[in-house]
Symmetry: C4
């Protein structure tokens, strides 16, 4: 049976793009809806935003994981490349598809709710506490991914969804944990937006968290040369799907 490793890079990038588009449509769209309906109670709005994000992550990882690995996240693709899973050319293709898809997703969300396709967000998200939040959020995300991919690949979809549901609430930054998501959310001046000036430190913290978790995990579960292949994100996924 064909696994995603047989799928051409172009198709895998298409899957990353479509998935990232739905992820962002999910995050931004549900933020708009929740904000409109919640009557000013931010906790209720965030609960709805959380459920929608968890739901969309679970189904997208389940559906597209066997095709592209379902990263939808340049930080995850970078960690995968560090672990030997993606070659530099693939990493470039993945990251650019994720960003393009994410922007398309934001535009779709805005259009569905009758807003301009893209608008510049004005929501402040800055400060040491929030940057620590993004470091912690992405550190935890990669820890969960590496742990599940290594031993229990069928649990990746529910575990990542459950993690993000939790991290929306336990990190002070509401867990962007994804550079493509962060950039794209600066183009929607709504509940889930982020001021462009606040994007760069978020991304720096995310990449630092992803790299730190990757090296921690490699120390926690040392892998022999023979086992190395099984550690790669998309390969393990593909094996599971086959």
């Amino acid at each position: 049976m064909k696994t995603h490793t047989d799928v051409t890079l172009f198709r895998r990038c298409a899957a990353e793009g479509v998935g990232s588009a739905f992820l962002l449509a999910g995050v931004v769209g549900s933020g708009i809806m929740a904000d409109r309906l919640s009557g000013g109670n931010a906790a209720i709005a965030l609960l709805a935003n959380t459920l929608a994000t968890g739901g969309v992550l679970l189904c997208l990882i389940a559906a597209l994981g066997p095709i592209s690995g379902a990263h939808f996240n340049p930080a995850v693709s970078l960690a995968d490349a560090l672990g030997g899973g993606l070659r530099p050319k693939e990493l470039l293709g993945y990251a650019s598809s994720q960003l393009t898809g994410a922007l398309a997703g934001v535009a779709t969300a805005n259009a569905m709710f009758g807003l301009p396709l893209l608008s510049i967000a004005h929501r402040h998200r800055s400060g040491a506490g929030l940057w620590l939040g993004e470091f912690v959020a992405t550190f935890g995300l990669l820890l969960v991914i590496w742990g599940c991919v290594r031993f229990r690949s069928t649990l990746v979809a529910p575990a990542v969804a459950a993690y993000i549901v939790a991290a929306y609430w336990f990190t002070s930054s509401t867990s962007f944990a994804n550079p493509a998501v962060t950039i794209a959310r600066s183009f929607s001046d709504t509940f889930t937006g982020i001021r462009p000036a606040d994007v760069a430190p978020f991304i720096a913290a995310q990449l630092a968290g992803a790299v730190a978790a990757t090296y921690l995990f490699l120390w926690l579960v040392p892998v022999s040369q023979r086992q190395a292949k099984a550690l790669l994100l998309p390969h393990e996924e593909g094996t599971d799907a086959a």
Copy 2:
């Protein structure tokens, strides 16, 4: 062991009808209950409606999937027919059972809450944003179904439930994504109702989304002749269940 392909078409249509009835009873009934209890906070009402819809989808797909494929949705049956899974005669049987069941479910919900069995809804649901919402909602639904059915059929039930939970919030139309559901909901003048005049464009957008996602997926994961059988919705389901 018997799979649903051995089950006579009549029994499979009965399963589609019973399942569609419970789906609509779930959607409409929980809408009435949520509306009554939520004290006017639409976000809380939609949260409850969302949970109930996700729950009823998960258990119905798990329980009836092995019998009929658990479509409960003419757009899904049409996509399945496009992919070669259902013959025209079966498609007709499925769609009419889904519609009949859906109407029975609405009547049951109305009766449980002491309302007239059927009433004409007055809730406006119209406009380009909402039609785009229905296109996106059904496009995503089919993408999730094709992705999971193809590689991870045991995840179809949780993935579809998670998708609809999300789409209730991230689409401007609250994701009807189902022609039988759309028609049936025009017969309950309650929280989840839709004005009959608004039904047709919703259905057009849904069918367009379903067809587009089906062709995208066929391009994303080309299937050789030998593998074609495994792609059919109900067959794959049946294999899993056997």
Copy 3:
């Protein structure tokens, strides 16, 4: 490996009793907590009550299913007996353990919250709409159980939990769907209570729903003599667990 069929009836009844106690402690206790914290918003209280009930069902069925079948419900045990799974003596043992456990669970919940161990509920729950609700609720519960047990026994726990989460909202009676639960809830004068005078018609509707769903399913998926064993609730569960 030992399956629950090797477990003596006494131990299986103990498992049914302990499970029923935790089920009722979960339902009644979370009702008290939700009622106290929700500031009068009944939808928020029912959301919390719903989540807690779904959670406790999922974990109890997962943990105790391999021992006793995890019925915790005389209507389920009766349906199992109709299908040939439980002998009359076992049915009697199961039902009495379920009722005893349920009462102990209510007393535990009341005690945890500083209330008298048992008190007579005064909450009215009566009328044709609610009785239809109980019929529908128990009909659906058995449909889900038979469907999952027959083809996908690993999904019984999440599917039953998801069903009850939904049915709390889509049935007008908030889905008691369980004679032991109904009787026990008449002994807590709190959010989830039911007036003793309203118990009998609820139970009648529940039993009718359970029997109707059982016969529908037997028609929907006819079973040959050779396959009959696999249809029995606890046996199938035991096979899965072994």
Copy 4:
């Protein structure tokens, strides 16, 4: 393939520490966020706190279970030792790592939200009802763990998460059910804090509940000498992961 039994004790303790840190960051951080956003409605705050705790438990058990068994809880490690799974030296290492990690997690949560790293909680949590609550909460937790580990180890992560989601609501004490969590939560003067003076009786009730459930389960499902190995928590986990 390597299982966690091959992992050195030091690495297993590191996994327990990291996991306990994320568990506490999840519990305490989401409590702070929920309290800030909920506008004074304690039920909405607890709903958010519940979802976050369930999410973080599910993903941590899935990701780290294969490495250390994912106890994150001295009461669970003690029960495992009683069952023959952990030797005294390992129990000591596990418990001290759990406590250290838990304190680090609380400090991280406080830092993310701009609070002093550690502060003494002032929230009263005392009385017979609450102590009974902790006994019931930990009793149920161990019952769920033993039941799932014994027969269905892949369900441990969702079942434990679902149990704690429920127990937050159905126990009067909101289910600490974990001595390391209890001590650590006394160092955050926020929504989830507990006054230091109230810690000792909580821990006593927790240990009593864990021991009682362990002996009940050993009676419920007697294990022959040959099967004994499969009963040990981390071994069973390891087998599942391999």
